[in-house]
């Protein structure tokens, strides 16, 4: 070559190469592969593949016990559905039920026993062994043997009636100062007023909702989750009328046939006003009612005198409902029959006091609703199982009935351990110096954040659980929630923990595993050969008597079957007292006057009435599926935490702007809230939302104990906090 190979030649080769490339597959193939690559990022999860099969179980998020059908890929549930036409709930599930299978993977999940270290602004966890916790409890039990206050070893369980509840009670009966308590804030507590009127301790009652044409609901969130939600939904679909007596424009109130916005705290007054009209206009069937009560005439006369002051004119003044409307409602209750009166609880605002409950439930007596075949029907109790029927059980106490500073060791059951219970309610019962609080919970959320130690319990669909009847069920029912998952290694079943503790302190252990205890209970139900069992696979009801063996009965239940008792033809003897058995006329009247006085307040420091609100399950049952953000955060369909709803006129008076950040001040403290103007709110009232905590939805890096609206509510001695005088702070 005459000339040397130069730079220009290289360029030419490269140029040729580039030109050539267009005629090769290289660019086209690369573009194609690249586009496929961009459509399939490796970090986007790929759903599991495999055989699709179905399994049946029962949801245990709340006490309703809705049957579910799980659609599985292999053994992994990928969605849960209601079972169409199921006799217990008509196949409906609530939004939370749809995410029940997510809870095993909840980010707030605890997988090891931990000690919670409470620091100033946050809490952190340290791993401990189960044995450490047991020895701590033993030390506390042993050092305080003397039976005086300040030494109670208490177990808090807000879902009594389960087999585990009996195990708790059997355990507590064996140790000195062992006390079994409920908070008295759940739905079942709203039934207590009814039981007082009926004067029966051991007879359970339920509702024949399907038969009712009208339901007058005092604060019960009927369409937002009440009792077994599917029953109410079904009744509504079939044209059941709802008259909602509630201050707040709740979801139920918005679609009810009538919304009766009474002033906060005047629900009982309104009920007595209705009773007054019913009696004075002779709308009640006295002949029929006289059969129900031993000394009916005297009782009615007494009651009539007691409510004589609650004339429509007076009640209209107190409640803000027009006099004529009160008369109209009372008449409607006797024309649009059968009509049922329900006393409920708002999940965040808590239950009514016992006297208010009595005043409200009493209307059912006047309407003749009580008794077999009626709207409020007696039902049998579900037996506790052979291992507990002989054993001594600790009695059920309400926490507000205990003296202050009396609990040394508090163990909290995982169910219903959300943040809808004001912690003050529990805190003031704990001893002042170093109480020991142990939570048996799958998560670090809700009430568990206040504990000192946590025993990680199995969560939804991780262990066999039994479902006693929901409080509203018209017959006894029983079902078993069969697990879909194997719990993580260090997760401990609460009964197993109790057994280890019992072994350590040298008392009797329970018989066999938890599943065995549930099996024993089903055996006892089977032996009675009563009722039917619903088989979800084919939608048939089999008579219990037609099931050949107890083993077969168990296997039906363990595969999603639902046992349903026959209706009870005759109740135990009851004698109705319209003032409740624990009251006489004097104390009832006194209590009502007290309630009546509390609103409207002439209080100039706190001119507003603060009424909190929340949704069942989301605020009271602990963590929920992370997908609940579809209702709370990604839409504003349900109000998120600390959103304060206020009428623009009330707002204008306090010189507020819509969307402003401000504080709500009460006697018990103050809280940062965000104002939202809403002209459906009663003027003079502020509703503050108790939404789900961020850590009970998606989990957070740093867990804090956040003050919510319940911590500024004024908690009364009877354990209620429905209404608090408040003001909007200056910004």
């Amino acid at each position: 070559m005459s000339k040397r190979f130069n730079r220009r030649d290289v360029m030419k080769i490269v140029g040729g190469g580039i030109a050539g490339m267009v005629f090769t597959p290289i660019p086209w193939k690369l573009i194609d592969d690249l586009s496929i690559w961009t459509q399939n990022w490796s970090w986007i999860p790929v759903p599991l593949k495999g055989d699709i099969n179905y399994k049946y179980s029962i949801c245990t998020i709340c006490s309703a016990g809705c049957p579910v059908r799980a659609r599985n890929v292999g053994t992994q549930p990928v969605s849960l559905w209601g079972i169409k036409n199921h006799p217990v709930n008509n196949g409906a599930l609530c939004p939370l039920g749809f995410g029940g299978h997510h809870l095993a993977f909840h980010p707030a999940r605890l997988r090891h026993p931990v000690k919670i270290v409470h620091e100033k602004n946050k809490i952190s966890t340290e791993k401990v062994s189960c044995a450490d916790i047991i020895s701590l409890i033993r030390k506390n039990i042993e050092s305080k043997q003397t039976p005086q206050t300040g030494n109670l070893i208490a177990m808090l369980d807000d879902r009594p009636g389960r087999t585990v509840s009996y195990a708790y009670r059997a355990f507590l009966a064996q140790i000195p100062n062992g006390t079994y308590i409920t908070t008295g804030t759940d739905e079942t507590d709203s039934m207590q007023g009814l039981y007082e009127i009926l004067g029966t301790e051991n007879q359970e009652y339920g509702f024949n909702i399907e038969k009712a044409r009208t339901i007058v609901s005092f604060g019960a969130p009927l369409l937002e989750g009440w009792g077994i939600p599917g029953r109410m939904m079904h009744a509504r679909k079939n044209g059941c009328r709802i008259l909602q007596v509630e201050t707040r424009f709740s979801h139920t109130a918005s679609v009810a046939d009538r919304w009766l916005p009474v002033k906060p705290g005047t629900e009982a007054v309104f009920a007595l006003g209705l009773a007054n009209v019913l009696i004075n206009e002779n709308l009640i069937d006295t002949d029929k009612l006289s059969y129900q009560s031993a000394n009916f005439d005297k009782e009615l006369k007494n009651y009539k005198e007691c409510i004589a002051g609650y004339t429509p004119a007076y009640v209209a003044g107190r409640t803000g409902i027009k006099e004529e409307l009160i008369r109209e409602i009372a008449r409607e209750m006797t024309t649009e029959t059968p009509s049922l009166v329900i006393c409920g609880r708002e999940p965040a605002a808590g239950p009514f006091s016992r006297e208010e409950q009595i005043a409200i439930w009493g209307l059912n007596f006047l309407l003749g609703n009580i008794g077999p075949g009626n709207l409020i029907v007696p039902r049998r109790s579900v037996p506790a199982g052979a291992s507990f029927s002989e054993t001594k059980l600790a009695s059920v106490k309400k926490i507000s009935d205990l003296p202050d500073h009396s609990i040394r060791v508090l163990m909290i059951d995982e169910a219903e351990s959300g943040h809808a219970i004001p912690w003050q309610l529990i805190e003031r019962k704990l001893v002042a110096d170093n109480p020991l609080v142990i939570s048996m919970s799958p998560y670090l959320a809700g009430m568990t954040k206040r504990a000192d130690y946590v025993i990680p319990a199995p969560t939804q669909y991780e262990s066999c659980q039994d479902i006693p009847p929901s409080f509203d069920s018209q017959t006894a029912t029983y079902a078993v929630s069969a697990p879909f998952y194997t719990p993580p290694e260090n997760v401990i079943q609460p009964t197993e923990f109790l057994n280890r503790l019992a072994e350590d302190i040298g008392i009797e252990k329970t018989n066999g595993s938890y599943t065995d205890m549930i099996k024993e209970r089903t055996a006892e139900i089977y032996e009675k050969k009563r009722g039917w069992i619903y088989i979800p696979h084919n939608g048939r009801l089999i008579e219990t008597a037609d099931v050949f063996t107890g083993q077969q009965f168990w296997s039906h239940l363990n595969n999603g079957g639902y046992w349903i008792d026959e209706p009870l033809e005759q109740a135990d003897n009851y004698s109705i007292s319209l003032f409740g058995i624990s009251h006489d006329r004097g104390s009832f009247e006194k209590a009502l006057r007290q309630i009546d006085k509390s609103y409207p307040s002439e209080n100039t420091t706190y001119p507003l009435a603060l009424v909190p609100f929340g949704w069942r399950g989301v605020v009271d049952s602990g963590p929920v599926t992370p997908l609940i953000t579809k209702l709370y955060q990604e839409t504003e369909f349900r109000k998120g935490t600390n959103r304060a709803l206020i009428h623009p006129e009330t707002g204008g008076f306090s010189r507020l702007r819509d969307g402003a950040q401000t504080t709500i001040v009460t006697d018990s403290g103050e809280l940062q809230v965000r104002i939202e103007f809403n002209d459906s709110v009663m003027p003079g009232v502020v509703h503050v939302a108790l939404g789900p905590d961020q850590d009970s939805i998606t989990g957070v890096k740093e867990v804090r104990i956040k003050e919510n609206i319940l911590s500024v509510c004024s908690l009364k001695d009877n354990g209620t906090w429905r209404m608090t005088p408040a003001r909007i702070g200056t910004v």
């Binding site: 459509q39 990022w41 970090w43 986007i44 999860p45 790929v46 759903p47 599991l48 495999g50 992994q76 990928v78 969605s79 849960l80 559905w81 209601g82 008509n90 196949g91 409906a92 599930l93 609530c94 939004p95 939370l96 749809f98 995410g99 299978h101 997510h102 993977f105 980010p107 937002e224 989750g225 599917g230 939904m233 079904h234 509504r236 679909k237 424009f249 979801h251 918005s254 679609v255 919304w259 916005p261 803000g320 599926t625 992370p626 997908l627 579809k630 209702l631 955060q633 990604e634 839409t635 504003e636 369909f637 109000k639 009428h647 809403n678 002209d679 459906s680 709110v681 009663m682 998606t698």
Partner: protein, 262 residues
């Protein structure tokens, strides 16, 4: 082989799926929103997501009668893709990522084709299209609960209600295994319809005069939200109350996602 297909194809009349929402029955429980999210592998919100950046194919609105306390009434309106026959989002899509499906009448959104310009979101009068601002993230382990019939989407694409077409595919496969090309009425229903506890939602083939939905659509209380825009939605609403009809139409039209009473 091809001939056989030709013959069957020509004879086959494809269904045109639609839905009727009975506003008098809806109690606003929100179950449909959750069932939809579970069925269609929608991700839970990250802490910084808001009601503008979230992803709720089945979105619940509370529409108010506009009267102050104590005369307030409200109605719950489930709002999702209205499956317009005259489809604004399809017309504006520069990428052919939207299609009026010839076999079902479903307005099909194909996220893998979408490049995220969001013209369709601007075009949609119902605000029923959602943009994935983030890659979907599930809490550790929860990705195992994803529905195998629906592929998870990535960030930067628009998605929306496709009438649970994963269920349609499955139902067709099942029917095919029994030798049928056409589906029976109850074989394919979207998740929201299956879960509704008050049976407020009815789904079916609008072109089949024997179907439940065809009878419902003849009801004089039926209306289409924003029907005057002429987009011919296949989702109908029903109410016997005139204020509901007016309020729903007015409020959904004039108010954005952020300001409708929630």
């Amino acid at each position: 082989m091809n001939n056989r297909n030709k013959v069957t194809q020509d004879n086959q009349k494809h269904p045109r799926y639609g839905m009727v929402v009975d506003l008098d029955k809806c109690t606003g429980c929100g179950t449909c929103s959750l069932a939809c999210a579970v069925e269609n592998n929608q991700q839970p919100a990250t802490p910084d997501m808001t009601n503008r950046t979230g992803n709720t194919w089945m979105r619940m609105y509370k529409v108010h009668n506009g009267k102050p306390f104590p005369d307030s009434r409200a109605v719950f309106v489930p709002m999702f893709c209205q499956q317009c026959d005259d489809t604004p989002c399809l017309y504006v899509c520069p990428q052919n990522a939207v299609e009026l499906d010839p076999m079902t009448g479903i307005v099909a959104q194909i996220p893998e084709r979408c490049f995220g310009c969001r013209y369709c979101m601007a075009a949609c009068p119902y605000e029923s299209r959602y943009f994935n601002w983030w890659d979907p993230v599930w809490p550790e382990g929860m990705e195992k609960t994803l529905n195998p019939d629906v592929s998870p989407r990535m960030r930067g694409v628009v998605e929306k209600c496709n009438f649970c077409h994963g269920r349609w595919q499955r139902a067709r496969a099942k029917a095919a295994s029994e030798g049928r090309r056409e589906l029976r009425e109850d074989e394919y229903i979207p998740a929201c319809v299956e879960c509704c506890p008050t049976e407020a939602l009815t789904f079916g083939n609008l072109d089949d005069p024997k179907s439940k939905i065809a009878k419902l659509v003849d009801d004089p209380n039926i209306f289409k939200i924003l029907g005057r825009l002429g987009t011919k939605p296949k989702v109908y609403y029903r109410t016997t109350r005139s204020w509901v009809r007016n309020a729903v139409d007015r409020n959904i039209y004039s108010e954005t996602k952020e300001t409708v009473h929630g």
